[in-house]
């Protein structure tokens, strides 16, 4: 099992997976590295062909899931023991608010909120696929799903995302109208 190959193949989907579970960018980065390190150190325990993404993918997903759960528990414990310690535990368990890391605000922010309201299976495939343009094959292998299923979910996820964006746009239209009257720079196209 070569580390570089492992990282190149699974870095993107791992980060996407962790993002879809609600990890902040910093946590996702840390957890993805922990996952890859622990997987590499425990590589002897992997049963099956280490070059096969259908074998390695689910294994990495399992390690990442355990680490992520442990992190949530630990943060919860630390907060319980010391309430003054503020931890980043997103209210929405799936897509976290990246906070300062997001410099674009605006529309991306809206899309992220909509991603957070997507069904988990939709959010997961979107994050895993689009974060680093990971192939559908790798995503499918990691999630232990047929490729057709992943393709179907990607398409339906985007339609669902569109619907959620339209809904949220309709809800926020009155306030936007009011603010646009005060700020001429926001008139015209939204982006």
């Amino acid at each position: 099992m070569e580390v570089q190959h492992l990282v190149d193949q699974f870095r993107g989907p791992l980060l996407g997976l962790l993002a879809s579970w609600g990890a902040s960018p910093a946590d996702a980065h840390d957890l993805a590295q922990d996952t890859l390190v622990e997987a590499y150190l425990a590589r002897e325990r992997l049963r099956g062909d280490p070059g096969d993404p259908r074998v390695v993918g689910p294994w990495l997903r399992g390690i990442a899931r355990n680490l992520h759960r442990a992190q949530i528990r630990r943060k919860g414990r630390e907060q319980a023991e010391d309430p003054s310690v503020q931890q980043h535990i997103p209210a929405d368990p799936r897509i976290a608010d990246p906070g300062d890391a997001d410099s674009e605000g605006g529309l991306s922010e809206e899309v992220r909120r909509a991603l957070g309201r997507l069904k988990p299976e939709f959010a997961t495939v979107l994050c895993m696929h689009y974060l680093e343009e990971t192939s559908v094959r790798t995503v499918a292998a990691m999630l232990e799903l047929p490729e057709k299923t992943v393709e179907g979910r990607l398409y339906r996820a985007r339609i669902e995302l569109r619907r959620l964006l339209e809904d949220s746009s309709a809800e926020s239209a009155p306030s936007r109208d009011r603010s646009s009257q005060n700020d001429p720079s926001t008139t015209g196209s939204e982006r």
């Binding site: 980060l15 990246p98 619907r163």
Partner: protein, 613 residues
Amino acid sequence: MSSTTTEPLRGPSDEPVEEQRVRDALEPWRVDPEAFNSSLARRLAEAEEGSGGSEPDAGNPRSLSDGARSRFWRSPLLQRAAAILPPGFLHPDLLKSTGLGGGAAVLGKKIGVKGAPALLAFPAVAIFVLGLTFVAALRQATLGVNAKGADKDANTDDQLRFWWKTNGRAVLLLAVAAIIVFWGRPAEAILLMLLASMIALTWVLGKLQSAGLATRERLGERWGGMLMQVGIFGMMLTNALLRDSGSNLHAAWPACVLIVGGTACSLVGGWRPKSGGWTSQAKVHAVVSLGLVGMLYPSLRSAPTDRQRRLEYVEAFQGIPLNTAEWRPFALLSYELLRDGGRAPDLMRAETNLLKAVREDPKVSSYILSDAALLGIFNGEPLQEFADRYGVKNLLERDSALRHPAQSYFDIFVRSRLAPLNDAECDHVADRLLLALPEGPKFAALEETWWIQECLRLVGRLDRLAPHRPRIRDIVAASWRGSADSGGATPPARTFVDNPGFVTRRNLARFFSDEPTFYAVSLMAEHGAPSTVDLERVATACRMESIPSHGWFGGIDDTELIYSALWDRLNMDFEFPAESLGIRILRERVLVGCALLVVLCFVSTLRAPRQRA
């Protein structure tokens, strides 16, 4: 997947959102591959440096990444587990390096509701440490302190002392709580609790394994030792448990499962792939295990005793010394063999010795004489001489009840052989016998009723008992401990004992001993069972008692033979529904529990990573 230009938010709702917008939204999670890779390479290098090579390093938590290591040491689970785990499970140097030391210091403060897994595991650990302490004490007593490996032993002894110093009170509390909670309860509850505790312990160990603290070698060694100890020293316990649970297996089975399981753990843990051999401890375990299983092999093969063994027993019976304790089982077994329609036993040996003894010693017990008469041993003997010598009563002179039907049998036998009784005389004897039929519960009521029945059979008046069947059934029912009215004035001896129930010895419909059971079953077979007596449970009890278990190495005693005869008789005279698979498994729950224990230990050992050389 080509990106598209952005569009206004409002549009046809069946159109998917643009891919680029999704990519933009995920931008904060995107990383610089080079920075990510270099950071990862650094972590890997640190981890590999800690492990000393490319092999996964069990036994060194430094093999974990910074984040994982940090999480691990902060884990309350580790602290609590380390606090209670006995010496040898964890790497002592690592514990020292984390400041946990013996770990026990945190026990009092840290084990609380949150430490549920560690707390649940505590009973199993306590038993394990008890075994270790016993072995350590044995070793000191037999080998002394100057034996080979004394330094290592002394270190273990120190750790044991430290463990007891810090956990002794908790063990005491646990023992007191166990006694209070389980006092008078089925022993299975304790086994169940131990299993739960073992599951918790293996869970804790699993966590430690994942952190590289518990290695296959250590677990194999420890589990192997523990299971062997439980298997060897717990033989008496499993024996009692098995008899309580109504198992159909010899008590050697659970012991062998534990011993073999312990050896399997030792062999798995003690395998050295590089040298292609096992550690010396694993070899010793294997040899000891092989020897023990070899010794127990006859017991493993033993099945409930059968007619052939009963036949062999009575035909081999010497008949001397002449005492009722020896003669009663022989007489009861012979009686059943003579009446069941199979090959009649050859009682020549007992007969020869008895007649010889009778000639030499005129003070032979009248019970033995009655037994001999019942079995037809006195045919052709000078009965007049017997009558004169033993002062056989003239049964026809009085009208009162024949109070001692067991002794009266011999009198009736001799009288009837010397001068056959006519019908009127037979009726007279029958009247006197029926007057002696016990009224309500009394001492030896079953035995007297049975002898009355046999006396009536001897004078050909068994039919006179027919009108008294309800009374006989009442006598049987009164001896049945399950009936509430048998308390109070009922003498405790020679009655059915304990409360009704299903599986445990305490609850089994078991009689006080084999003799009353014999009389009760015999009477029920002749006159029907009272509605309050559950024959299925009686049969279950007989079946259970017929399995040889007193002799660990294949021995057998007469009690088991009598119960075996009763089991056969119950099945011959009554119909019982077949037992379901669930009930049969329930009967073997001790074996199942032991097997589960072994599986837990074995899997726990197998899953642990190897320690680097």
